[in-house]
């Protein structure tokens, strides 16, 4: 499987914050991550893949808790493996739910701030708790928290020192929809402030809502990276589906069927579904076809440019 990479324009200017070159990790005969190369700068990137694709292994390699079996992993220009000083610039939210149950949320975040050597640990902890919206429960023991609250406490602990790089493994697990939205806003704000955020998630809606940059891992290999809409445009072996509403769908369908760029047309209730292999060509002909047929176009919407559609295609092919 070949990765379809869409280089971001600004990556050529700024040095990458995260950089993997032919990185691989295996456990005995099991290959968890295989020959993965990519680089990331500031912004939010979603790490996608089915269960067992190697997402957690990749995040652990970036966090310095696993050495690559082959290739190189660099964060901020150096290998994070066996270099504790790199944690001054990294915040990590592991997937496992555990936290120190006997500490209050505030004590936990303050503990993280102190271990980061922050002099203003108290105010930094309060600010981080406020950022994740945990003020009301800050003085309660973490053991009494719901799953979503524990996740937020973990995120507060990871960002209390305002790291340059934030690695989050399934950070939205257990959060209710309102908490998810709030967390997405927070990650978006950090990205806008120049931080590099990489998070894994199996809920595509979340990834789509935060940003468009994705890394897709399938069976340990990088299947695609970049803007998922651009990746979709590169999938020329998969026809694009477009939904059209017009003043006369049947007449428009007759006209479109004569065009070589269109290879399937389906009349639906109050809409027309068109399949084309060449989206750019179709964009040019649709207006002409409308005029030729004497039909007024009311809506032309790509039906399968969602992240889910892209992901489904990459994983199944």
């Amino acid at each position: 499987m070949t990765a379809q990479t869409i280089p971001a324009a600004d990556q050529a200017v700024a040095p990458p914050v995260i950089e993997l070159a032919n990185a691989a990790r295996w456990y005995g005969n099991v290959v968890a991550v295989n020959d993965v190369s990519f680089s990331l700068g500031a912004g939010v990137t979603g790490l996608l893949g089915p269960n067992g694709a190697g997402k957690t292994t990749l995040l652990h390699m970036l966090a310095g808790f696993l050495a690559p079996s082959a290739g190189t992993v660099h964060v901020l220009g150096r290998s994070p493996h066996r270099d504790p000083s790199v944690y001054r610039q990294i915040g990590l939210v592991p997937e496992r739910e555990s936290a120190y149950a006997f500490l209050t949320g505030y004590e936990y975040v303050r503990f993280n701030a102190r271990l980061q050597g922050m002099r203003n640990a108290d105010s930094a902890a309060r600010a981080a708790i406020e950022r994740v919206g945990l003020e009301d429960a800050a003085d309660r023991a973490i053991g009494t928290y719901s799953k979503g609250m524990r996740q937020r406490a973990k995120v507060a602990g990871a960002l209390v020192h305002d790291p340059q790089v934030l690695l989050l493994d399934e950070p939205f697990n257990g959060m209710d929809p309102r908490q998810r939205l709030s967390m997405m806003d927070l990650l978006g704000e950090m990205a806008a402030a120049g931080r590099t955020i990489l998070f894994s998630s199996h809920i595509l809606e979340e990834v789509e809502r935060i940003g468009t940059e994705i890394l897709v891992l399938v069976s340990g290999r990088l299947a695609a990276s970049g803007d998922f809409r651009a990746i979709r445009a590169l999938m020329t072996d998969r026809p694009h589906s477009i939904t059209i509403r017009s003043s006369d769908d049947r007449r428009l369908a007759t006209t479109l069927m004569a065009d070589p760029a269109v290879f399937a047309v389906e009349l639906k209730e109050n809409a027309l579904s068109v399949q084309t292999a060449h989206l750019s060509a179709f964009r040019r002909i649709i207006a002409v076809a409308g005029r030729t047929a004497g039909v007024r176009l009311m809506e032309v919407v790509p039906a399968d440019e969602s992240l889910e559609s892209v992901f489904d295609y990459l994983v199944r092919r």
Binding site: V30, A32, S85, V86, R88, A99, L103, F111, L115, Q116
Partner: protein, 250 residues
């Protein structure tokens, strides 16, 4: 990197709270109450007998049961709780030298063990043998010394063991029962590799123990103790520096 003066007390405090919140600590407190209770029984039913109490309570109960159990639970629990609950990542994902983490964990575990074992010996001694005069004071001092040396050695040994295997608790109890208990009576050379003998050797410098119990001179015992502590802490630091998460294909 975060300085040791900042990180050390934070990790000590965390470890103390972690250990004190566990049910096993309550069981240890009850166990440590055994020597003082036996002292009360001796006091109620007999004369003050320094050597009799030393031979039947300090050595077989305080030194052979309370000390190894307290140290194996606190020693393996210092990192064991972090490993079991998956919280060790929160410690390791920090800009802290690994030796600081090991030293802080060991300090907390030794402190807990000392409080429990020394208090147990002091209270039992105060009840039964100290009233006998200087001989009783020396005997109590001897076993306080044994608890100090034993706590330092056992805790560092078991803490290090817990970084190499998840079965450290079972191995630690096995070491105490089989190696130091059964095998050492058959093979005298084992004394050189027995923390109990290091503790008895240290105790010998305060109080003349009967020769069968202490097989090492105080100097030898203290030298071997120092070597064990340094080697164990160095190994634990080395291990933590090479910490990797266990295999996962996700």
């Amino acid at each position: 990197m975060t300085g040791p003066l900042v990180a050390f007390p934070e990790i000590v405090r965390l470890t103390l709270r972690q250990q004190l919140g566990r049910r096993r600590t309550l069981l240890l407190v009850l166990l440590a109450a055994l020597p003082p209770l036996l002292a009360l029984v001796y006091r109620a039913f007999g004369e003050v007998d320094v050597s009799g109490f030393t031979d039947s309570v300090f050595e077989p109960v305080s030194l052979t049961i309370v000390l190894p159990l307290a140290t194996v639970l606190f020693g393996t629990g210092a990192f064991g709780a972090e490993n079991d609950e998956g919280t060790i990542l929160y410690l390791l994902a920090k800009p802290i030298s690994r030796w600081v983490i090991v030293a802080a964990k060991a300090f907390a575990a030794v402190a807990l063990s000392l409080v429990l074992t020394v208090a147990s010996v002091l209270v039992a001694g105060a009840i039964e043998v100290v009233p006998a005069g200087s001989d009783g004071v020396s005997a109590t001092e001897a076993y306080v010394g044994a608890m100090v040396v034993g706590s330092l050695c056992y805790v560092t040994l078991f803490l290090t063991l817990s970084l190499f295997t998840r079965r450290a608790l079972v191995l630690g109890i096995g070491y105490s029962l089989v190696w130091e208990g059964a095998l050492s009576s058959l093979l005298p050379g084992i004394a050189n590799l027995s923390v109990r003998q290091y503790a008895l050797g240290a105790a010998d410098s305060f109080y003349q123990l009967h020769t069968e119990a202490a097989r090492l001179s105080p100097t030898t015992a203290l030298t071997l103790s120092a070597i064990l502590i340094v080697v164990a802490l160095a190994l634990a630091t080395w291990r933590l520096m090479r910490f990797e998460l266990s295999g996962s294909t996700d």
